[in-house]
């Protein structure tokens, strides 16, 4: 106990000394997020300092082992770091699919060589990773994917395409599911392969969403060379790793609400917009829905906290991640529905500086994708029903 308290005061002092003032406020918009990578242009000197300091401590990936550049913290210490960061409203130093997705999969399934090659640059924010999972004909039925690798001895030649690659054109490296054995049953012929996005034969095309511009791309492979030593785990064992990685992705998406941590309470926004009548929100029916939402938000956050307390640091939440993904995204959709109701006719505005180019309307539309990406809500409920509840079929 005393050791933990000492750690807390050390962390507090260290953060006080190293976290720049301007990094101690919530993101004003998505443009404030630091993604890192080869071509990353820091938006401010503070952003760069903050990432560098945290990376030196390994605290961009607090629970990863120190030999790969991580912080080497166990669950309790990592929780203290998180609490102390949120106490001063410190922004995450980096938002990274490397840390949230491929890193944990490499730690569990990668060879020593792959770990040494890829993990330290992830911790330092030097390489920006993107995901190649879905294909035009492989959405919910992901295992029917068709991007195909032909065995050429020490390497593969890959043809096919991926869709819904977030930030595809900005990615430095991709982790992708590729069919390496076309004869095997669909779950058993897939490999998880890592490759540099600058490899010849890779191109991307942006996707426009109902909300306007989007970070998603389609990614095309045309006779693209991929190295066999970049296969994570054994060839054709990719599906198991893919599922493990998905639990981390779902956990990350389940925290969608927390990306805006420090964000204003919905009820405060409503009070400002609609006003109080005898101490109560002027629309009593909307008030009820807001109260229900705020209660469910607390329930979700506390349940994620409890699940982390029950799980070893850095370990996967397993099928429970599906439950959190389901609740986190459904809640975020509800939040935006209520914000639209509170915003009323102003919320319809699509352009102009007053609305920040229709930011609310666009975010509301974008939130509809939350319960589709990373596995639909229906897929998550299937997983809970079968893997947690043990229901048949």
């Amino acid at each position: 106990m005393r050791e933990l308290e000492q750690f807390r005061s050390d962390v507090r002092a260290w953060l006080e000394a190293h976290c720049p003032e301007s990094m101690r406020e919530p993101y004003r918009s998505e443009a404030d997020v630091c993604w890192g990578g080869r071509n990353w242009k820091f938006q401010s000197e503070d952003q760069e300092i903050w990432l560098r300091c945290m990376a030196e401590k390994g605290w961009t990936a607090p629970t990863w082992p120190a030999q790969y550049g991580g912080g080497g913290l166990d669950r309790e210490h990592a929780k203290i770091l998180k609490q102390e960061m949120s106490r001063i409203k410190a922004r995450p130093p980096i938002y990274s699919f490397g840390i949230a997705m491929i890193g944990p999969a490499l730690l569990k399934y990668g060879s020593e060589e792959l770990k040494m090659q890829h993990l330290p640059p992830i911790v330092r924010g030097e390489i920006r990773w993107v995901q190649g999972y879905s294909e035009p004909n492989a959405g919910s039925d992901l295992a029917s994917l068709q991007a195909r690798a032909d065995d050429q001895g020490d390497h593969y030649i890959v043809n096919g395409s991926k869709i819904w690659t977030s930030y595809g054109e900005k990615g430095d490296w991709m982790f992708a599911l590729i069919r390496t054995d076309s004869e095997a049953p669909k779950h058993q012929g897939i490999s998880l392969i890592l490759f540099d996005m600058q490899t010849p034969g890779i191109s991307t095309r942006p996707i426009q969403l109902i909300s306007g511009k989007s970070p998603f791309t389609e990614t095309f492979f045309e006779n693209t060379r991929m190295e066999k030593n970049q296969v994570v785990g054994e060839p054709n064992q990719g599906w198991t790793i893919a599922k493990y990685l998905l639990t981390h992705e779902r956990e990350m998406i389940g925290e969608t609400g927390n990306l805006q941590s420090g964000a204003e309470l919905l009820s405060h926004i409503a009070v400002k917009k609609l006003g109080l009548d005898n101490g109560r929100l002027s629309n009593p029916v909307l008030r009820t829905d807001i109260a229900r939402f705020e209660i469910d938000e607390v329930c979700h956050q506390l349940t994620m906290e409890r699940a982390r307390d029950e799980t070893k640091a850095g370990a996967s939440l397993g099928p429970s991640a599906s439950m959190f993904k389901y609740y986190g995204t459904e809640l975020n959709k509800r939040r935006y529905e209520l914000l639209m109701a509170v915003g009323a006719q102003d919320a319809l505005i699509w352009e102009g500086a007053d609305s920040n180019e229709g930011e609310l309307a666009r975010r509301w539309l974008r939130s509809k994708g939350n319960s589709i990406e990373g596995g639909t809500s229906e897929i998550q409920l299937n997983i809970v029903a079968k893997r947690i509840l043990g229901l048949p079929g």
């Binding site: 109560r280 929100l281 229900r292 209660i295 506390l302 349940t303 307390d309 299937n382 229901l391 048949p392």
Partner: protein, 379 residues
């Protein structure tokens, strides 16, 4: 502090579950009902619960208790929700004890707490006056009379009112009917000749009472807490009550869900297990998730009670609102998923819906607490 039970608490949970499954399974409730029992609980079982130490959990050590806190009592309440075991745990050991530890003088505590801890004295909270839970609406008058007071009025829905040895009665010492200020609390012997008790059974054989007070003369030492400021005691008591009810509702919901899940895995229609139908799987998955959330917040609420958290009113209402909603949904779905057999009295699943409705409604339902939560958050 992490949101998990420690080893000691896990042991308590296990021993509570073993005891209740053996000594008071659901058939116990059915027997009480069918035998026309008028108390609504079994005194023999109650004295066994006292032997287990449950009546002493919340009582401070200096008054003969175990001082094991709300987290401890919450575990027992949750388990007794699973077996739907009727007992005065909520009225006496949770709310009664909280009233005395919050507002009682040393003398009052010495008078009541050791006997409560021993299981030989029951308390009941007489705070409502209409069908709707509204603790600030008090018309019952406490008029100065000699050195003490004379109480006149009518109290409704007093849980265990007919069983209690002592009533905790709210009455107005000044102000108008709906004002919080001017409400005072009094410890009144239940056998006082000026009290008329109308006992009634509710849905599932639990009992409550309406009580009429006609010039009930009591001494000055009967005042619990400060005069006119009874809400300062009553609020914490009702918060503890709401969280305790929520712990019990959590047990009710979990047991109803687990029984239903079992049924989905054994009942066949169209030649297959009905649990293979996606229409049922998704509903079951959502119920599972909702119950997981309820576990987290009940744990949080009990911890908040033990810590004396300053936002207790907000937390308590959040929890009771959520647990009412979830347990109600789960117990109603339990009947639907059991189909026709779920509607029969012979089958047990219907008892869960009944118990849920009672716990939900007494001391403020989903709507009451939703409204209170919003108020606490400033809207």
């Amino acid at each position: 502090m992490t949101l998990v039970l420690n080893e000691e608490q896990l042991m308590l949970k296990e021993s509570a579950r073993d005891f209740l499954q053996q000594r008071a399974p659901l058939s116990h409730l059915r027997e009480l009902r069918d035998s026309g029992n008028t108390r609504g609980y079994s005194p023999e079982l109650w004295s066994e619960m006292a032997d287990m130490g449950w009546t002493a959990i919340l009582v401070p050590e200096q008054y003969g208790g175990l001082e094991y806190g709300y987290s401890g009592l919450g575990i027992v309440l949750e388990e007794s929700g699973r077996t739907l075991t009727p007992s005065p745990l909520l009225s006496t050991c949770l709310m009664g004890v909280t009233a005395l530890t919050t507002g009682g003088s040393d003398e009052q505590r010495r008078k009541y707490l050791p006997e409560v801890a021993a299981g030989s004295h029951l308390l009941a909270l007489a705070v409502n006056e209409s069908s709707v839970h509204a603790p600030c609406s008090v018309a019952t008058a406490a008029q100065a009379s000699g050195e003490g007071f004379s109480l006149t009025g009518r109290k409704t829905a007093v849980i265990d009112g007919h069983n209690a040895d002592t009533l905790i009665v709210s009455a107005r010492t000044r102000g108008t009917e709906h004002e919080a200020d001017g409400i005072s609390l009094f410890l009144v012997p239940a056998d006082h000749p000026g009290i008329h008790t109308e006992r009634y059974r509710v849905l599932d054989t639990h009992t409550a009472a309406h009580m009429t007070l006609d010039k009930v003369e009591i001494g000055p030492d009967a005042v619990l807490g400060e005069l006119h400021r009874g809400m300062a005691v009553l609020d914490p008591v009702l918060n503890a009550g709401a969280i305790g009810q929520s712990a019990e509702l959590l047990g009710v919901a979990q047991e109803a869900f687990e029984r239903t899940l079992g049924y989905l895995k054994e009942r066949k229609q169209f030649g297959v297990l009905i649990g293979s139908f996606q229409a049922l799987q998704h509903r079951a998955a959502v119920m599972f998730g909702d119950i997981e959330q309820c576990k987290s917040i009940v744990l949080k609420g009990l911890r908040a009670l033990d810590k004396g958290d300053e936002n207790l009113s907000e937390i308590a209402s959040l929890i009771k609102a959520k647990l009412s909603e979830t347990a109600h949904h789960v117990t109603a779905e339990a009947i639907q998923m059991h189909g026709g057999i779920g509607m029969t009295d012979e089958f047990d699943i219907g008892f869960f819906l009944k118990r849920c409705q009672i716990l939900e409604t007494f001391l403020g339902d989903h709507y009451f607490h939703l409204d209170r939560f919003a108020g606490q958050r400033g809207y």
